[in-house]
Symmetry: C2
Subunit: 296 residues, 2 copies
DNA sequence: CCGATCGATACGTACAGCCTATCGATCATG
DNA sequence: CATGATCGATAGGCTGTACGTATCGATCGG
């Protein structure tokens, strides 16, 4: 049985007239009769009762007509699915992001724009620490990932990173802290006070990068407390446990016990990167395109 | 796109190896490569990434694989549906029956046996008066019908009637009625008493046949009351409104106010017939076969 | 009774799908 | 690093089959 048989049969069943059906199908009548007969022989079932004057569906023919239509529709759907999947309009996209990514307006805007443009792509968002994202993408557990890194992250050749945002670092303190609001504040000043920082396994390298910057400015940082979440970090700063240094976009999180003070150092910058496989699935490539367009 | 393409693609996707897939498909490797390529060209989508060492599904290929499997399954189902419908194992069967048919054990047994043997046939049972059944079958609103008639019913040539039961008539009266239990009771005796009978439009000809029998026995029947249902008929007899004559199988309906007395006349018989179109749908033919086997 | 209609049959043809043979690329191995 | 094995792609020839034209046989209306 081939699709030809189904297409021909459906047309004959609709017209109940071999010559007309053949004309619609763009063939002549004899081969149409042959193909219908061939289909009946293969099924071992008479689908049409035909005299030289009238063609009617048998009971089995009526049942088969429905099933044949369903089969043709399913085949159509298969072709459409393939094309849409290839163009990235259909499927699933697994996006990883670190703790600070959601607070970046450009990232949120890009995700929103992507959802509007590709509504049939199932977005699977998951919070993953920076380095773990790279591993996850390599293991095909993730398609793309947002991670923070001052410089371009070192990646295996099959992965690509695009910088989507470059931002300054700020110091977060209690309002009554001596550093609060001080103009021309420098990293070395901040390093003189005990710090609340992310635990290394959660920071995705941010803490290490921060410490490296401080040491480069000639000060040795001291850890007051390590935490695992943004809310804890800022909560403990507001409680006076210590101060911390975060990316400027985190200023979106305001609180009565918190003030953010700019750092004057040229080196006090950080960046968000979008990491993806060089051979990305179509949906991922579209996502990268939208993110670089909106946020880049 | 033809089924060939789907079958070939599914096999390659399962083996991820052209030569092995070709062997399983019973063809050689080159035409398999050609057909896959043809499929990809038609869809405009690359379904497989292939180097000379490794074959992998693209994302679109994976989505298409599912859809292709569904399409092939749908086609299989279409063939099965046609065959099962042709053999009468699938579909709908519309059975008409008159008021007395359900009380006949053979009819009930036949319907039960049919349900067991053909569980996937949707049985649509409907109560239809005898002559209306013939009209309904001719109008293709009914497939088969049970009706009561002393002699073979007059039918157009495209319909066939099979007698499935021949039974004697009995008189139904109150227990204190003078005819109750009288040995050798004859139709002429019964005709001497006022009768409760079905209204003509509901009786399906039974009342007319009964009156003809009574007149043939030399008596003129008198109507005490006409009714539209079996329960009303027997209820009014039990209430003493009159007596009635019914088929023996109705004795199954017992009541405190009712007794049945046999009629001695040779002519006091009735029969149930199964009517069906000569060109019945398969399910109807099977039904007729089972009924004649069980009840005939 | 005759012509029109319509599906089936007969038969020739062109193309497509399959075959075998071979190539080119990649990878494992000594 | 050279060599052989593996595997998909390509080339070219052959055959089956789906389609075309011509015609037949049956049925129905006028």
């Amino acid at each position: 049985m081939e699709f030809r048989h189904l297409r021909y049969f459906v047309q004959v069943a609709e017209d109940l007239h071999f010559a007309r059906a053949a004309a619609r199908l763009g063939i002549s009548q004899p081969p149409l009769s042959q193909q219908i007969r061939q289909l009946e022989d293969e099924l071992g079932v008479r689908l049409l009762d035909r005299t030289s004057r009238r063609v009617t569906l048998t009971y089995a023919g009526g049942m088969f007509l429905d099933a044949a239509r369903r089969t043709l529709a399913e085949a159509d759907k298969a072709a459409t699915v393939a094309r849409r999947a290839a163009s990235g309009e259909l499927g699933e996209l697994r996006v990883g992001f670190n703790a600070s990514a959601p607070f970046i307006p450009q990232v949120a805007a890009a995700i929103h724009a992507y959802r509007l443009r590709y509504p049939d792509v199932q977005l699977a968002l998951s919070e993953v620490a920076g380095p773990a994202q790279v591993t996850a993408i390599l293991a095909d557990a993730l398609d793309v990932g947002f991670l923070r890194s001052a410089a371009a992250p070192a990646l295996p050749p099959e992965l690509t990173a695009t910088r989507i945002l470059r931002e300054r670092l700020v110091v977060a303190t209690r309002p009554d802290h001596p550093l609060a609001g001080r103009a021309g504040l420098r990293l070395a000043d901040a390093a003189a006070h005990p710090l609340v920082v992310y635990a290394s396994d959660r920071s995705g390298g941010f803490t290490e990068e921060l410490f490296a910057l401080m040491r480069a400015s000639g000060a040795e940082p001291r850890i007051a407390q390590t935490v695992r979440e943004v809310s804890t970090l800022l909560g403990l700063v507001a409680a006076g446990v210590g101060i911390t240094v975060v990316a400027e976009s985190l200023c979106a999180l305001q609180s009565a016990g918190l003030v953010y003070t700019s750092l004057a150092d040229d080196s006090a910058v950080s960046a968000m990167w979008l990491v993806h496989a060089a051979a990305s699935p179509p949906a991922a490539a579209n996502f990268v395109a939208i993110v670089t367009e909106v946020a880049g």
